[in-house]
Amino acid sequence: MKMVMAVIKPHKLDDVREALTGVGVAGLTAGEVKGFGRQRGHTEIYRGAEYTVSFVPKVKIEVVVADNQIEAAVEAIQKSAQSGQIGDGKIFVYDIASAVRIRTGETGDSAL
C-alpha cells in the first residue's frame, strides 16, 4: 500500500478527483495549503506600498492506493493537474505500513 501525496493548483482539484476515480481510486483526502517554490509569490498593494507575499495557495491531496494501482494513480494526477505552467506542483509517494477502515475495522487493501 502506498500513499500518493500531491500538491496541485487549487482549481485543478475537481479534474484530479475525476481522473483518480477514472482509474479506480475510491477515496481521497484534500486540504488547503500554501506553497513556496519556483513559482514565486505575488505582490499585494496596501496603501501606497507593495508587499511581497511568498506563499501561493495550493491544494494538497492524499490518496492511499494498493501497490498495483500506484502507477495509474500517479499518472492520473500528473496528467490531470498539469497546465504546463510553473507551479503545477509535485507528487510524492511513500510506503504505508497498514490501513484500517474505522467503521468496520477492516484492514489492508480492503480498508481503502
Binding site: 498593494i45 496603501r47 501606497g48 508587499y51
Partner: protein, 429 residues
C-alpha cells in the same frame, strides 16, 4: 437664503447662543427629526463603522481587540461626556477657555430646554457622538501592541484634556469662535486633534515588531470596505447634521461631502493604477475616508466645485503622506490616522478659506472678512490646536506609561491580542 446663510456659519456660530440663556426660539419638529437621526448616523459611524474599518486592516488574531477598543472607548466617552465633558465644552464659558461645570450630568438639559430650533438634549447627544468617534479614531495608531488598560486611561484623559477644551474654543463659544474661526463639522476639533495625537502616541509607543518590512496585509479588506461604506453614509449625519437644521444648508453639506468622498477615491485609485498597474479596494476606500475628513471643516462653506477640488487634493496629499510617515518618519501610525485624518482635517481647514468664494459656488466669506484674513485665522487656530494636542497627549502618555506601561508582552504581540487581552478568538470556522 437668509436662514441658510446664518446657520451656514456652522456650529461655531450657533453655539454662541447655546451658552447664552435659552432664547424664546421654538422647537422645529423637522429640524429635530433630522438631528436625532444624524445622532444615530454618527453613532453608526463608530459602531460598527469605524470598528469594522479598522478591524479589517489588522491581522486575524487581533480583530476583536480593535473592535473591543472602539466599543469600550465609545462607552467610556459617553458616560464621561454626560458627567462632565459636555459641560466643559458647552457650559457657561470661563473666559473663553473652558466651559463651566453648570451642565454636569446634563443638569438643566431637560426635555424642554432649547438650542436654536432643536431641544438641547438632542444637541447634547449629537455632540456626544462626536466625543465618541474622536478618541476612537486614534485606535488606528496603536493596534496589535498596546495594553488595553493603558488605552482606556489614555482615551478618557484625552477626551477631557484635549477634545473638550478644543471643542469649547471652536464650537462652545470660546476664544477661537470669537476670532471667527470656521470649522463646520470638525476639521480642527475632530480630525486635527485626533490625527496629531495619534502620531505622538504611535511614536512614543514604538512600532509593531514587523514594521515596516514584514507587515501582514489586511486580514479582511471586505470588512474594511464595509466599515468605510458605513462611515460614508454616517458622515451625512456628521456634516449634514452640523447644520443643526433640515434645510438647504444641510442639503448642500451632504452634497459637498459626498462629492469630495467620491472624487478622493477616484484620485487615490488613479494614483495606484498608474503606480502599481491596478487599483486596490483598500486604497479606494482609504481615499473615500480622506475625502470625507478633508471636506468636514469646509462642508458648510463650499459648493460642489469646491468639493471637487477638495476631494482631489485629499486623494493626492493623503496618499503621499501615508508613505512619508511610514518610510521617511519611520513612525508606525499603523492605520494612518495622521496621514488620513490629521492631514485631511488640516488641509480642509485651510482650503475652506479660498474655496468659500462665491465664484466657486461657495457661501462666501463672513461679513467684512477678507479671504486672506480668514486664511490667517484658520492657520493660526489649527497651529495652536496642533501644539496643544501634541503637548497634552505627550503628558497623558507619559503618565499612563508610568502607571500601567504601554505595551503588551511581546509573545502576546506574536499571537495577536484577541486571546491574551480578551480571552476570545475572532474566527472559529
Amino acid at each position: 437664503m437668509l436662514r441658510a446663510r446664518t446657520i451656514g456659519l456652522g456650529i461655531g456660530a450657533l453655539t454662541l447662543f447655546t451658552a447664552a440663556p435659552a432664547m424664546a426660539a421654538e422647537i422645529n419638529s423637522g429640524d429635530t427629526a433630522w438631528i436625532i437621526v444624524a445622532t444615530a448616523l454618527v453613532l453608526f459611524m463608530t459602531l460598527p463603522g469605524l470598528a469594522l474599518f479598522y478591524a479589517g486592516l489588522v491581522r486575524a488574531g487581533s480583530v476583536l481587540s480593535v473592535i473591543m477598543q472602539c466599543v469600550m472607548i465609545a462607552c467610556i466617552a459617553s458616560v464621561l461626556w454626560m458627567v462632565v465633558g459636555y459641560s466643559l465644552a458647552f457650559g457657561d464659558s470661563v473666559g473663553g477657555w473652558i466651559g463651566g461645570l453648570d451642565k454636569m450630568f446634563f443638569e438643566g438639559v431637560g426635555t424642554d430646554s432649547v438650542n436654536g430650533t432643536i431641544p438641547e438634549i438632542v444637541f447634547a447627544m449629537f455632540q456626544m457622538t462626536f466625543a465618541i468617534i474622536t478618541p476612537a479614531l486614534i485606535v488606528g495608531a496603536y493596534p496589535e501592541r498596546m495594553k488595553f488598560s493603558a488605552i482606556l486611561v489614555f482615551s478618557a484623559a484625552w477626551l477631557l484634556l484635549v477634545y473638550a477644551p478644543v471643542a469649547h474654543w471652536v464650537w462652545g463659544g470660546g476664544w477661537m469662535a470669537a476670532m471667527g474661526v470656521r470649522d463646520f463639522a470638525g476639521g480642527i476639533v475632530v480630525h486635527a486633534t485626533a490625527g496629531v495625537s495619534a502620531l505622538m502616541l504611535a511614536k512614543m509607543l514604538g512600532p509593531r515588531k514587523d514594521f515596516p518590512n514584514h507587515l501582514r496585509p489586511p486580514h479582511n479588506p471586505g470588512m474594511t470596505a464595509t466599515g468605510a461604506a458605513m462611515l460614508w453614509v454616517g458622515w451625512f449625519g456628521f456634516n449634514g447634521g452640523s447644520q443643526l437644521a433640515a434645510d438647504g444648508g444641510a442639503g448642500m453639506a451632504i452634497a459637498v461631502t459626498h462629492i469630495s468622498a467620491a472624487t478622493a477615491a477616484i484620485t487615490w485609485s488613479v494614483i495606484e493604477w498608474v503606480k502599481f498597474g491596478k487599483p486596490s479596494l483598500v486604497g479606494a476606500v482609504t481615499g473615500v475616508i480622506a475625502g470625507l475628513a478633508t471636506i468636514t471643516p469646509a462642508s458648510g462653506f463650499v459648493g460642489p466645485i469646491g468639493a471637487l477640488i477638495i476631494g482631489a487634493a485629499a486623494g493626492v496629499i493623503c496618499f503621499y503622506l501615508v508613505g512619508l510617515v511610514k518610510n521617511r518618519f519611520k513612525i508606525d501610525d499603523s492605520l494612518d490616522v495622521f496621514a488620513v485624518h490629521g492631514v485631511g482635517g488640516i488641509l480642509g481647514t485651510l482650503l475652506l478659506a479660498p474655496l468659500a468664494a462665491v465664484s466657486l459656488g461657495g457661501g462666501g466669506q463672513a461679513d467684512g472678512v477678507s479671504m486672506m484674513d480668514q486664511l490667517g485665522v484658520q492657520a493660526l487656530c489649527v497651529a495652536i490646536v496642533i501644539v496643544w494636542s501634541l503637548a497634552v497627549s505627550y503628558v497623558i502618555i507619559k503618565v499612563t506609561q508610568g502607571l500601567f506601561g504601554l505595551r503588551v508582552d511581546p509573545e502576546d504581540e506574536n499571537t495577536g491580542l484577541d486571546l491574551p487581552s480578551h480571552g476570545e478568538r475572532g474566527y472559529e470556522l
